[in-house]
Symmetry: D2
Subunit: 402 residues, 4 copies
């Protein structure tokens, strides 16, 4: 296996960037064009409309930035908050922490509910905090739908119910970076006010687009005083209305986005969600077969886009990752911050299928074995296969019954 | 010529985005990879080093954002200014106007020197204003090196001399979006403090990267109070030091940037500048042959990356552009703001050669003729050819003499 | 203009390979797949059907080889002739010569009608020869529809009329390599028996596919005795019937072909022919303005896909080509065989538009001037523009009148 | 798993076409160029030289056709044989059968040694036949190095020894289509006279190039009387000498070939062979673990590029393949001719690595289980893992020991 070249494909199982389908790479391989031409809106106007479907919104306003998801975090907050505004946020992982930090840099005051890593947002505590906020000083509730660092999905619908129960007018901010287009997300039904995502996860694109969806209620808060220019909603909304942008857009990615949205529609968004759950089920079956535990404490926290797998005491998750990367061309996600070394992560989102995942599970088995973690070779693969074959059988019975 | 399909290539002669060479499109057509892997710095560390050459700096710090050039404008200002700070800026076109507007949104106080559109920064007036600023309340001077809207290049070296003559400590901010990598730019020699560019002009990439180069003096001003998070220099500098980024980078564009820098090095930066001057000379010869005038008032203002061409009274530049686009598949730049309808622009920057430009000149001739502007058919082409052939001859004599 | 890199695009104006549109390059950028899978016929069966439209046939049988057009020449002859068979052929250029040579290598006896280079097939002479062939020993008539070396198009319909007038049963073999999908071609109407083309001309693909269309009468001659295996029609026809191939097909090119056929259909085949005539008219106008002559003697011989332009006495066409290639990144075609040095060729077929051609005409002007041929700079461009603008005007009037 | 779109990558495990690496796809995504330009030999001359390394020849002459491997079969025979010539060939699979059939179509008389499918060439029988051929009427010996249909590799060196032992002057023809660049092949050392390969196997390219390597002794036989034109060596040798081709070459594939040769050199040809053996070992371990048998009878026949796996009595291999393709997006090879239904094949050649193969093995397990073949889930994966981990360990010990 010597030699400078690494043959074959890299198995990319970090929870983003995800595998970009060849169709999307092709769609992005294009000559530039004049983004002020009379033809340009033929590309953009349908894009803005179709993006809404991904958020499941009719009323929301989408804004697309040349930025990462971090930029979209900033856009959502700075367009609707003023320095000194209070927001309520739960912290239970690296990404919920970073978002809080970003908000503070913009002068916002964040009331933090610390949750155990491996759990997520506790709607009852949200409700309690909001009930206590008699004067409605809390302007917003920040929820990380899927905490990528720990593989924990929180229940946004329950947060909305909590807010309603408290009869509180705060805006609902949701980070859907590693959930939207992979895990069910319902902007209108849950009355989300600001939803944030990026291009490099469920949308199966390279990083480079930050996307925000804003409710009419959110737009009404645009007289907020946080200073902003690049991320100003208003400039985009005005230019987007006729199919243009306030500054040069990331054209290649827009073409990729068009293809991505077409592919999601072809597969069917509900089928996409089902596929993610299916692959996550297989992964979790493998983890059980290995005798290991997820970082996510209970099934209700289990993420369908990323599984964070605790390594046994005495072992270092970073060594699993290093071994997998160097020897098997498999990229796994690392434990971050307080989870550093304690786990490794398998991202199972985006353009994946069963055999790709079984290859990755197999690679994880070898890497664990190599550094001395005693999992039964092939056991995870067999457990995942059992899930996959069962689903195939059920699906076929369903088709036969139709 | 009916039929839905437009055969052949679009002639893209807007002053950005520019034509992306096939080599760069290929370099960007890649599978995603883990941007936290141990291999990743092999891509990024040389990239940061080689970017410096484009700015002609050894001491400067480059920061690369997933953003447009507008984001880089914001980054340069917010990292080094506090709300209420005074900056001095000349305004003489759409882009100098927009930058001033952006600065004001961030709470900066801009002292504006209005200059006639078609001219640029007047260093003597800069010097005068700085001399009068005894208390050094002016924190910075904002210069648009190349005003894309009017085809005007200002003399940054002269601005530096003016600042020195006034013995003023203000920071020198330079928008080099449509000059850097096309027109000579000398960060260290001119002691620029903040230089700004984007990927979609001289770097021959799609839009999506905003790039700032900051001097050590600029970095010393990072305790500034403008709020920022996405564009915070410090996060990037810290992560970049070991080859990483504070958030997911626009991987495809980074690969494209590597190829772009390799191509610029292969051609030789000075040869790239000479080629831009050469093509601009040809364009200006064509304009003279047509009996038309540039928006840029005097030869010292003439830009080597874009020519803004005044249409005769009674004609509308927008009609030339519309005709060229619809009938000849040629994209020209429009007149903006107070120049709307009065001119059309030929962008001659990026990956261009003589025949591409001659095709565009020919298309402009036909479009003008079509709407009734009486320029002699073929006259602009012949005038440009004469310049091009002369240069070829001189070049061959030079080679022969060696 | 020094430096190793040649900036900008190459102007490819040889008469094949032609410019491959980006859409087709993208369509070819694909992962391999199992060419024996149950899905494969979904690609191939529509391809075989749609290819027939290009030939304008309903009854013909198309066969697609991984080969160049030369292979298709061989396939047409060896599947329908036996060694010793007599065929009648006119020779008036490099490609008609090569085809005759190929036929002879396979043991066929070719009765050659020598025609002046610059003219083509003389139907009256064909008729005469066939009338004299009382015993019908002549098995076929070989016609090069468009002789690429001299820019001469022959009248295939007139050849058919001549054959009918002589009441002769010979098969009609037509080389349509540089005509099909560019110049009107009517397989069924003209009762062509074997038509030959390649992928790298009007089909706008890279070289690598040789395509034959055979009439039912031709198929009835498949008991012929020329030895063949790779090019055996029967193997292909049998496998193609269900969507497969007798050996591994050139998959990338098949995907490219699908896109090519879609593009031709979008533009409309008649519009494609009109565009080629339009661009050829512009080229011929330029040649007249230069005071030069075409190799093709009379307008009835003028090819709409390639113009062979005679250089004045005392000049060498190869120098024009060399100069154009080295100095202006323009690829022109050379004079071949007895025309070596006497002419240069502009191929104007495939995915071209007016501005591309005007750039090439402009480059030819400069190259000619450089080596001392005195053509008026810009004169060819102006003459072509006049044609192009006139056509635009007529087209607009037509649209307005509808 | 419903929905029209098949998410994720197809697992292509037919024994050709193989997976084309992204690098090669990128290298093929190019604008066309003039194949008669003065620059063209810069591409081709190094290509011809580097191709020789793949054959391990210094003296051989390579010829590259736009064709499939079938065309290269034809070229090798028709350039060196005359109708009526006798050749000796063993038949033990679909491809050895097809080659014999092709030879007969060209009028050659083939003396066939029938061998059991699952075995290959028996050198002792070759020697015996040649010894009996006192008058040296046998002009050549045809050997299929790797019979793709049964996964059998024959010993070419032993055939050479047999020919030498018989002191017979026959030419040695070797079909290396599914061995060259994957399994050790030594043109000069084994004194092969005609070696044949195609682009779509070990060379990791799309189909479309047929490649022959001819010894000086073979070239001396070019006065042979088989009729040929497209495949005539002489035309290619003459044109290739200066870097050109006798007809338009398949340019995209030539660029791909350049990249392919670079990649093989980077990895190191011996490392490439070792990798193929390594992956084949893993596959064979899986087959053993499943309790199944290979078609190849004994280890000495085992192919390192393809394993043909016998399904138990009562089962149909075609159902495994169908199930794998439809449900798991896995393409396996079918049993052909007398092996139809009795086996399925895993191609493990080209740009593959361990995890890709483990994914495929896992998919084969599921497909077999689905149709009722009782193999232990995960057992094949575990067995292959054991081989792979062992090799990794030995490699690391080797590196540590250096």
């Amino acid at each position: 296996m010597a030699g400078a070249r690494k043959p074959g494909r890299n198995f990319l199982f970090v929870p983003g960037p995800t595998n970009v389908p060849d169709r999307i790479l092709r769609a992005m391989h294009i000559a530039m064009e004049d983004h002020r031409s009379s033809d340009f809106p033929k590309l953009t106007l349908p894009l803005f409309e179709n993006l809404k479907k991904i958020f499941k919104t009719r009323e929301g306003q989408v804004v697309v930035y040349p930025s990462s998801g971090t930029g979209a975090w900033e856009a959502a907050l700075t367009n609707t908050c003023s320095p000194g505004d209070k927001l309520l946020a739960a912290r239970f992982g690296q990404f919920s922490s970073l978002w809080i930090e970003l908000a503070r840099r913009h002068g916002l005051e964040i009331i933090v509910q610390e949750e155990e890593w491996g759990t997520g947002v506790h709607p009852d505590k949200i409700e309690e905090a909001l009930r206590e906020d008699k004067n409605h000083e809390i302007k917003g509730v920040m929820v990380v739908h899927n905490e990528t660092a720990t593989g924990v999905t929180s229940d946004v619908a329950a947060v909305r119910r909590a807010m309603d129960a408290a009869d509180h007018p705060a805006l609902l901010y949701v980070d859907g970076v590693s959930s939207i287009a992979s895990i069910d997300f319902r902007f209108d039904e849950w009355r989300v006010d600001l939803a944030i995502t990026g291009s490099q996860k469920g949308l199966m694109l390279p990083a480079g687009l930050g996307i925000v969806c804003a409710s009419q209620k959110a737009l009404a808060a645009m007289n907020a005083k946080c200073r902003r220019a690049y991320f100003e909603f208003g400039d985009h909304m005005k230019a987007n209305a006729t199919g243009y942008f306030p500054y040069t857009p990331a054209l290649s990615l827009l073409h990729g986005l068009r293809e991505s949205l077409a592919m999601l529609e072809e597969e069917g968004l509900e089928n996409v969600f089902a596929r993610h759950r299916h692959l996550a089920d297989g992964t979790r079956a493998a983890v059980s077969a290995w005798g290991l535990k997820l970082c996510a404490k209970e099934p209700n926290w289990h993420s369908d886009t990323v599984s964070a797998i605790m390594v046994p005491h005495g072992f270092n998750g970073a060594e699993v990752i290093d071994r997998a990367y160097r020897c098997y061309n498999l990229a796994l996600g690392a434990g971050l911050s307080q989870m550093a070394g304690k786990l490794f992560r398998i991202g199972h989102l985006g353009d994946l299928n069963e055999l790709m995942l079984l290859g990755a599970i197999s690679g994880a088995e070898m890497a664990m074995n190599d550094i001395g973690i005693e999992v039964e070779p092939g056991s995870g693969v067999a457990a995942a296969q059992a899930r996959f074959r069962g689903a195939q059988m059920r699906e076929q019975q369903r088709i036969a019954a139709e």
